[in-house]
Symmetry: C2
Subunit: 232 residues, 2 copies
């Protein structure tokens, strides 16, 4: 498929390892992706800088949507958007239950905006890097959530009702972190551009002990590769 | 049910006639509503002023979420968010097809944010004033869309997965505009506070000829009531 024949796609790009890999997969499958990120009042805006760098390296258009879900705007309730809640360190990320870093309805909100964006672009394919293996505590990372959103998308839009067919792609959903990293490395992803840590220092260096860092480091070990980002 | 026993609810409040009526219905059904509005880059911000006035008159908390869906932010494609597209006047609003005032995935986006807000509040009831009679051209105003979103909400959230049960209430969905106005008047809604026009003048006076004004004026005629807002 040449680039002139590529189908447009929208890729949710957080700036993390998973979404960077998902973007590479979308390109590898022959899509012409538009990346979309959210400035949602997250504790760490380093990830938006990373998202811009990843999109630039992949040579794809990138849009950042301002959508304030932080506590001062009336939201909060998550360690990721509410500075009054501490990010947990040295916690076992495989522990049952919903982590304090869960952001209420976040993937529903992000997919909804991506759907509106896709309809405007004329794209019918939306990619996101959710994963149900390492993040089983997040309800909106499960296959049944993705399937329900795809059903909704085809009822909610003029393009869907008009005979188009939206597809929500979650290519990482059944992969381990190690498999994700191996896949990305094979596709040439520069993981040095990605940002994963929930609680970086002022210079943006990763803590190495939050749930996200623990999963990332274990993933690189499983993949037999070195993590190129800097730790504190 | 006394106010101490009232169940929390989130009500999408646009500042228009339908959402003002929906807010009154939620209160009448014994809920303690929190109103939520969006500053989404809409052409007419008069409706946000109206939303604040309606929430104040109803004595309910009101949050305005900034979420830029306008053309400069990479969205657009609708006469309501893209000033390069004219609002149609003297068009027959009952005509088949999707109107140019359709905003891609708008109700999906608004409901998703309302869902996140509800989860933080501990509310399980979300009200919105969609109507499938007068706005049959909008795919996200149909009962099957509402049902699909309710299914999604219960899969997407920690509270839904945890045994709670979200309900999406669309009490106006089968009413005519005249019935909506009669219902609201019986509940004491001050329609003078509401803003409906898609294309007001600089003073905020309604045009009387856009689709929204035509439907509103016909609704007041059907209800046998006078419209208290000022027309150009």
């Amino acid at each position: 498929m040449t680039s002139n024949e590529s189908k447009l796609a929208v890729v949710l790009l957080s700036g993390g390892l998973d979404s960077a890999t998902t973007l590479a997969i979308a390109k590898d499958r022959g899509f012409a992706p538009h990346a979309i990120s959210f400035n949602y009042g997250q504790r760490h805006t380093f990830e938006l800088t990373s998202a811009a760098a990843i999109a630039a390296a992949a040579n794809v258009p990138h849009t950042v949507v301002p959508l304030d879900l932080s506590a001062p705007a009336g939201f909060g309730g998550s360690a990721l958007t509410d500075t009054s809640i501490d990010v947990p360190h040295d916690h076992d990320p495989s522990e049952a239950g919903i982590p304090s870093t869960y952001v209420p309805a976040r993937n529903t909100i992000f997919l909804s905006v991506a759907l509106g964006y896709a309809e405007i672009l004329g794209a019918f394919d939306i990619f996101l890097g959710v994963n149900s293996v390492d993040y089983s505590g997040y309800p909106d990372c499960r296959p049944e959530f993705i399937a329900a959103f795809e059903t909704l998308a085809n009822l909610a839009t003029a393009a869907g009702v008009g005979g188009g067919r939206y597809h929500i792609h979650a290519p990482l959903i059944e992969m381990t972190k190690g498999e994700i990293i191996q896949t990305g490395l094979a596709l040439g992803v520069d993981y040095g551009l990605t940002h994963t840590c929930y609680d970086p220092d002022a210079a943006g260096r990763s803590c190495g002990t939050c749930d996200a860092c623990q999963l990332r480091l274990a993933g690189f070990r499983d993949a037999g590769a070195d993590d190129p980002v800097e730790y504190q």
